[in-house]
């Protein structure tokens, strides 16, 4: 009997609990409003000490740490922009989601899935400090402290089997400290090729998930579990050193690496116009590729000849065959005075078929402007043979993926030996007593190399690379780097000055393969020089 009543009691309890829960659901939860109100924000000054105490753990990093910068102006910017961003993001999200949903629902026998409301709320994300790191590499590193405690309201209504269920996400809070690295830096806007994002710590995520009005996340224990799950998932993907990579520019193009070689054979010119008063002109041809800083190339001068034959060959490095063009100028050589122009023409490289020699006979013009009346005059013709040879895929340098990685030594390097690559980047605060026109002299095992001279600069940039082929690792050798300055004026007074020097022991380079550091210059007040050293072995 007692046994039966216990069984009945249990059954009753079971029935009661479900009825009670249904009752309680309708009593307490169902009639809860599911809209999200805008929070009332009181100025801090009005708040009592109790709520101020609660604020303490949330104090922005820029208040606590001097190495963080305040970026409240960005917060203000975001605040004003937020309503517009909200609309734009929600619109885009809907546009992206709708076709995906339409594609997916037939599989699950669901009638429809749609956003009932989608808003990110009135509270914008805030940046509570920004820290940047300076390294010697070509990269920018910044670490904003991002806090978004918003009041978004996302309601997704799912209809299936004639029933409707809503899932609501409210009060999303994301606190994260991402590290944003922009690299490599390139000389074309926006000046970086890739954005790398990774998280320095596990992010804090909190939200309310309401299923039919009841917040699942407030079931004790469940919230913690879900939060850990999300944290781990995100951490698996993006926690440093794992990164999220966003490509902005094609690095090959952005870095302006050579992509091919143009071979130019200047054959001859025909019927050039006479320019000299006495006798015929003395023509020569000057060749230049547009958009390069490389010096132009010249043929020899053919004296007293209006139909000169040169048959001279030149090759030039091409960086962008789509936009670059070859400029040909014919000049009249003069013993004294300015060389006179005899005519010119331009060949855009995109007109050339790759790997195929092309013979061209070009009319010489006064200017490239087609409407120029002076172009009607006959100035003669020039005959050239052009061959554009793009590099094959395997010829292309492969270090683009990771510019800081040490390359393999080129072929022909003796076994056991390698190539020492010295890159002189820049110097700061070098100053001479009488003049500051710095250049760098590198001495290694008696071999001497020099960079070009930069005039009147205390912070020169050279960006020059020197290579030394070696039979064996230079474990005991030192590299002598010296910054010198010579006077630009011709005079016996102070012709040459040393602005500082540094001796770099190469043993570290051999063991580390690569070193990129700023060295303090000896015999200089405050000078520093940035030198990159690489040891490339086969």
């Amino acid at each position: 009997m007692g046994f039966l009543s216990v069984i009945l009691g249990f059954c009753g309890f079971g029935v009661g609990i479900s009825t009670g829960m249904v009752l309680g659901y309708y009593l307490f939860i169902y009639f809860q409003p599911c809209d999200v109100k805008d929070p009332v924000i009181r100025p801090l000054v009005e708040q009592d000490s109790q709520s101020l105490l609660r604020l303490l753990p949330e104090i922005p990093l820029w208040v606590k740490n001097p190495d963080y910068d305040r970026i409240d102006w960005l917060n203000k910017f975001l605040e004003v922009m937020w309503p517009y961003l909200d609309k734009a993001i929600c619109k885009t999200a809907k546009n992206i989601a709708t076709p995906i949903i339409a594609e997916q629902i037939p599989k699950y026998k669901i009638e429809s899935v749609e956003f009932e409301t989608l808003t990110l709320g009135s509270l914008p994300p805030t940046f509570q400090g920004m820290k940047v790191y300076l390294t010697e590499e070509k990269e920018l590193i910044m670490e904003p402290s991002l806090k978004w405690a918003g009041n978004p309201n996302v309601i997704i209504a799912v209809k299936a089997f004639g029933l409707k269920a809503t899932v609501q996400v409210v009060d999303l809070q994301v606190f994260a400290q991402p590290r944003i690295t922009l690299k490599p830096l390139v000389p074309s806007f926006p000046c970086f090729a890739k954005i790398l994002v990774s998280l320095m710590e596990k992010p804090h995520v909190d939200f309310g998930l309401k299923l039919a009005g009841a917040d699942l996340m407030s079931i004790p224990g469940l919230y913690r579990f879900v939060q850990e799950l999300i944290k781990d998932q995100v951490a698996n993907m993006y926690l440093w050193p794992k990164t999220l990579e966003v490509q902005i520019l094609d690095p090959t193009k952005a870095m302006k690496k050579p992509v091919g070689i143009l071979h130019v054979k200047v054959l001859r010119a025909l019927k050039l116009r006479k320019k000299d008063l006495l006798g015929a002109s003395d023509p020569y041809v000057k060749l230049k590729l547009t958009e390069t800083k490389a010096p132009s190339k010249k043929t020899t001068v053919k004296h007293k000849n209006l139909n000169p034959e040169w048959n001279e060959e030149f090759s030039m490095v091409v960086k962008d065959p789509e936009t670059q063009a070859l400029e040909l100028h014919v000049y009249d050589w003069e013993q004294i005075g300015k060389h006179e122009k005899m005519g010119m023409n331009v060949v855009p490289l995109k007109e050339l078929p790759p790997d195929e020699p092309k013979n061209m006979t070009l009319d010489l013009l006064k200017t490239i402007d087609p409407s120029d009346v002076q172009n009607d005059k006959l100035r003669g013709q020039i005959v050239v043979e052009l061959t554009y040879k793009p590099f094959k895929e395997e010829d292309l340098p492969k270090d683009i993926e990771n510019p800081s990685a040490v390359q393999k030594a080129p072929e022909g390097t003796p076994p056991g030996g390698g190539v020492l690559v010295v890159t002189v980047h820049e110097a700061q605060d070098v100053e001479g007593k009488h003049h500051t026109n710095p250049y760098v002299r590198i001495i290694f095992r008696g071999e001497e190399r020099k960079t070009k001279q930069i005039k009147k600069s205390r912070d020169p940039r050279w960006e020059e690379e020197f290579t030394f082929m070696l039979e064996e690792p230079p474990l005991k050798d030192k590299l002598h780097v010296e910054v010198l300055s010579t006077s630009t004026r011709i005079g016996l007074l102070h012709p040459k000055e040393t602005l500082g020097y540094v001796d770099i022991s190469l043993a570290d380079v051999i063991s580390n393969k690569r070193i990129n550091e700023k060295f303090h210059l000896i015999d200089s007040k405050n000078g520093r020089i940035q030198i990159e050293l690489q040891w490339q072995t086969s």
Partner: protein, 495 residues
């Protein structure tokens, strides 16, 4: 019995469970909301807030200037600068060179960059201030300072001299750049950016000119010409209220609201002046008044000989583009052989004027507009004027806009004539080696007008009804060519 008590207990337990859940929901909701509010209010702290939070231990590394400091941005900028400089050089060359060519003063046959590199020193951002002055717009003021080491060499070719390389040395720029972001509902949420240099504080652009392997005196008035070209480009293109409107791609929006448009017409009658200073040794001053709202469009009265209390009674019409910030500037000159001497000047801010009310004003002349530089407190005389400000309505504004377009066409033609005419002037003055700076400067104004229109059709809107072109001729005879817009057609008056 057991069943009923079980059901009752179960129901109670179930309801209790739900109540507990609800309680938890509310608790968590409140907690999240409180946190949201905290984070929100901490995103923009001011000094008082921070004092309240930190109490005695106020961190000493924090200060609250008007312009917020951006050390991190400067660090990044200096690192990025070599790359920006490289990328910007080509763009500057492309965009500024045609402008220079258009602005090229007569007497100079070509004006090009022969070398342009921005140097190794990055500009410094002293501070940033963000405001929202208008609905749907963000105003960002950037306090920019650049004491760079750029190497800019202009190849200046003149009719008489082959080509002189002129170097711009020791360039220093101190200015506040105002960027206004027009917001939109589509990503990237910004439909256009308006860029201008704030007029207050006045942008400072200092540089020294140096001829490389030559002499600056080879072309008379050359440095004045270059200085004037730079000043007129800066004040009439970049300085607020003039602005450059850059539409951000992707969103087709009407940006015409952002551009500078004529807002009103100012009818000024220069009635008379009294008690002017005598500048001449023999006789009295020969005064005339030059007035303008924008320096490019100056108008002037006749010269009244030998009179310290002249009466002109001349009427002018000027166009205002921005009533809030623009001012009408009067300058009284004494006509003289060589340089005309300034007798006094006065500024009338347009904001002081009431629309549609005719008003007679007596203005005290000052030696200089910059109050800091005024040394003596001597009376410079009083200028009596009559002003009537008429605010344009929509149709009139449109009409003025149309008229302006026609004006620009006319100016383009005039420019060609002007160049031909003024090259002669330059040869003339070079031969006699009397180059008046003012004359040269005014020449630029004349010939530059067409350039303004053509070079900057996207950069801003230009207005102006009347153009005065002065050319300094030897022997002090000033010839004026006044181009007055009447019924939409340009006419040439020689005075």
């Amino acid at each position: 019995m057991g069943l009923i008590s079980g059901i009752v207990m179960g129901m109670m337990f179930g309801i209790g469970l739900m109540a507990g859940w609800k309680h938890m929901m509310e608790y968590r909701n409140k907690k999240r909301l409180a946190k949201a509010i905290d984070v929100r209010s901490l995103s923009s702290l001011n000094r008082d807030d921070l004092k309240k939070i930190c109490g005695e231990t106020f961190p000493c590394w924090i200060s609250f200037p008007v312009y917020e400091q951006v050390k991190w941005l400067n660090k990044q900028l200096s690192k990025l600068w070599p790359f920006i400089a490289d990328a910007a050089e080509a763009i500057i060359r492309e965009s500024v060179e045609p402008l220079l060519e258009d602005y090229r003063p007569p007497g100079i046959s070509s004006l090009k960059f022969s070398e342009l590199s921005l140097g190794n020193v990055a500009p410094k951002i002293e501070g940033i201030r963000v405001q929202s002055l208008k609905e749907g717009q963000i105003t960002m003021d950037i306090d920019l300072r650049w004491g760079g080491d750029p190497s800019i060499i202009l190849a200046v070719g003149a009719a008489v001299v082959a080509s002189i390389p002129i170097q711009l040395k020791d360039l220093q720029v101190f200015t506040v750049v105002r960027a206004i972001f027009q917001l939109a509902d589509e990503i990237p949420c910004i439909s256009a950016v308006v860029v201008a240099l704030l007029a207050e504080p006045k942008p400072r652009i200092d540089y020294t000119l140096k001829a490389v392997g030559g002499s600056l005196t080879a072309i008379p008035g050359l440095s004045d010409m270059i200085n004037d070209t730079v000043t007129s480009i800066v004040t009439d293109m970049l300085q607020w209220p003039h602005r450059i409107v850059v539409p951000i791609g992707g969103i087709p929006v009407d940006t015409s609201d952002l551009e500078l448009k004529p807002v009103g017409k100012l009818t000024v009658t220069v009635v008379k002046a009294s008690g002017l200073k005598n500048m001449e040794l023999i006789g009295k001053s020969d005064p005339y008044v030059v007035l303008h709202i924008r320096p490019l469009f100056k108008v002037r009265t006749k010269v009244i000989d030998n009179n310290l209390n002249p009466v002109w009674n001349e009427k002018f019409e000027l166009i205002a583009e921005d009533k809030e910030t623009q001012s009408l500037i009067f300058e009284v000159y004494d006509e003289d052989i060589g340089d005309d001497k300034k007798l006094g000047t006065v500024k009338l801010p347009l904001i002081d004027l009431q629309p549609e009310v005719s008003k007679e004003l007596e203005l005290r002349l000052l030696p200089q507009l910059d109050m800091l530089k005024i040394k003596d407190k001597k009376d410079r005389g009083i200028l009596t004027i009559q002003v009537f400000y008429h605010e344009f309505n929509k149709e009139e504004q449109l009409a003025a806009h149309e008229e302006e377009k026609r004006m620009l066409e006319a100016k383009k033609k005039l420019k060609e004539q002007g160049v031909v005419g003024s090259t002669m002037d330059a040869v003339d003055s070079a031969a006699s080696a009397v180059g008046s700076g003012i004359g040269a400067g005014a020449n630029i104004v004349g010939s530059g007008l067409g350039a303004v229109g053509s070079g900057l059709s996207r950069a801003g809107q230009f207005m102006g009804r009347t153009i005065t072109r002065q050319s300094g001729l030897p022997r002090g005879s000033v010839s004026n060519i006044q181009i007055t817009e009447e019924n939409g057609a340009a006419k040439l008056h020689s005075m």
